[in-house]
Amino acid sequence: MGKVLMKGNEAIAEAAIRAGCLNYFAYPITPQSEVAEYLAKRMPEVDGVFLQGESEVAVGYMIFGASACGARVMTTSSSPGVSLMGEAISYITAAQCPAVFVNIMRGGPGLGGILPSQADYFQATKGGGHGDYRLLVMAPASVQEAVEMMMEAFPLAEKYRNPVMLVGDGLIGQMMEPVEFPDNLSIPATNKDAWATNGMDTRKSDKRNLVKTLYLNPEELNAHNLLLKAKYERMKQEAVKYEPYNLDSAYQVLIVSYGTMSRVCKTAIDMLKDEGIEVGMVRPQTLFPFPEQAIFEAAACESCKVALSVEMSMGQMIEDVERCIKGRLPVKWHGKCGGDVPTPEEVIDAVKRLIAEY
C-alpha cells in the first residue's frame, strides 16, 4: 500500500488495528478524540471492540481486565485523562499485564489548555501512579514514526509484560502527514497461557493462573519488586532508542529534545550551521529507558561547552539530562508551556546566548 495522508490520531488508530489490537476502550478528550472517532467506525469492520467508558478511571480498569484475560488492548487519552488512569496503570504494572497507553499531551496543570505540550514527562517516566514501577515510554516526532512506534509498542508490552506508553504532544495527534503502513502487518500473538486468566479450557492446562497485585508478606512484596526492577533494568539494556543529529561535527552546544520540539531544533540546527555555528542533538525516541549512555558520550565531545534541554515543559527532562551528563557540562533549559511551540528562531536565540556565555 502506498502513502496516505492522515492525521496523527487517525494513523495511531489504524496502526493499532494493524498491530492486532482489537480491543480499544477510551473516553474522549481534546486533542486525541479523533482516535476514538476513527476506531468507533473501524473496530466493527474488523470484529473488534470499541467501548467508551464512563470515565478514564473506568477505562483504566477496562484495560486491566482485558489485558489480564490475555487480550491485546489499548487506550488513548490526553493529560488530565491519563492522570485519572494513574491508579490502574500502577495496578497493571504490578500485575505484569501488557497494554498500550497513548497520551496526546495538552498543557497543564489542571485543565490547562488543549494545545501541544510535553508537560507530562514526569507523569510518563517517573510515575503518575503509586509505587515502584516504570512504563516503557516512546515519543514519536512525526506521524510516520508514531505508526512505526505503535507497531513496536504491542510486541514490547507483551515481551516485558508491562504497559508501554506512547507520548506525543498535541501536534503529533493533530498534524497530517503522509504515512506508509508496513506491508507485513501481522504481529503473532505471544503465548500468554503461562499467566493470563484466559480460561483453563482454552489453554488445556490444569494450572490455575492468578493475576494479583496484593502481597501482604513483606518478603514476598520485596521479591516481587526486585523482579520488576530486574525487568526495568533489562529494558535499559535492550530497549533504548534515540536519534543522533549533527553529532559528527565539532559542536559547541548539545541539545536534547524530543517529539515535535526536536523537529523545531533540527531546523534551528540547520539554520545555525549555515551561519557557521555547530550544534549537535540527541533526540530520545524512548523517554524510559532514557538514552543515558548516548548523552553521556555526546557531552564528552571536546568542542562542546554546554548542554541545552529544549522541551515544552517548565524543565522536566532536564533532570534526566543532568543525571546523564554527571556534571561534565553545565545543563540549561529552554522551553515554553502554554501551547505555543517555540520557533526555530527562539531556539537559535537560546543557543547564541549560551555560546556568548560559555
Binding site: 495522508l5 501536534l171 498534524m175 497530517m176 503522509p178 523537529r263 523545531v264 531546523t267 528562531e345
Partner: protein
C-alpha cells in the same frame, strides 16, 4: 526549497479542506508535506487557519510563523497574517468579503472575488475551491493538474459535486492568470 502557505478565514469557509487538498496534491507529487491545523479556541467563531508546509526534503519544524504565502478568506485573517508573509510570496485576498488591500508592496497580492465567482457558476459552497485553484495557479506551489485530481479525490464519495468543483477549479485558474 521549502514553501509554506497559510489558509485563513472563519469557521465554515472550508479552510481546513483547502489545506488538506493541497497537502494531498503535494504528496501525490512526491513531496514531503505537513498539514498543521489551528485547533485552539479560535476555531469556535473567530479565525480558523491551517498551514501546509511543502518541501523536497524532510520537514523540520512544522511551526511556521512567517509563511511564504497566504490565502485570506476574510478580513480579520488578512489583517492578522498579511504582515507575517515573506517577501515575494503570494497573498490571495477574497475580495468578496475583504474591502482592503494587503498593505504590502513586496508581495504578489491577488484579489479574487471567490464568493461571487462561486455563486456565478451555481456552486456557492465551492468558494474555497475557487480560491485554492487561483492560489495554486498563481504560486505554482504544486502541479496544477495534481491539485485538480486531489479535488476530484476529495469528492469521490459525492461524485455529483465533481463537475461543479471542476468548474470552480477552471474559473479560479482563469482569474489568477487574467
Amino acid at each position: 526549497m521549502q514553501n509554506e502557505v497559510m489558509f485563513a478565514g472563519f469557521g465554515g469557509q472550508g479552510i481546513m479542506l483547502m489545506g488538506k487538498i493541497l497537502a494531498h496534491a503535494a504528496m501525490e507529487q512526491g513531496l514531503e508535506v505537513a498539514w498543521i491545523p489551528s485547533y485552539g479556541p479560535e476555531m469556535r467563531g473567530g479565525t480558523a487557519y491551517c498551514t501546509v508546509v511543502v518541501n523536497e526534503r524532510p520537514i523540520g519544524s512544522p511551526i511556521i510563523r512567517n509563511p511564504r504565502h497566504l490565502v485570506a478568506m476574510n478580513r480579520p485573517s488578512l489583517e492578522k497574517f498579511a504582515p507575517m508573509v515573506k517577501t515575494g510570496g503570494v497573498i490571495l485576498i477574497n475580495s468578496s468579503l475583504i474591502d482592503i488591500g494587503a498593505g504590502r508592496t513586496d508581495v504578489d497580492a491577488l484579489n479574487v472575488p471567490v464568493n461571487e465567482i462561486a455563486a456565478e457558476i451555481g456552486a456557492a459552497k465551492a468558494a474555497n475551491i475557487v480560491a485554492l485553484a487561483a492560489f495554486v495557479s498563481r504560486s505554482h506551489i504544486v502541479d496544477f493538474e495534481l491539485m485538480r485530481e486531489a479535488v476530484k479525490n476529495e469528492f469521490a464519495a459525492k461524485a455529483k459535486f465533481i463537475p461543479l468543483n471542476m468548474k470552480a477549479v477552471d474559473r479560479g485558474a482563469e482569474i489568477a492568470q487574467a
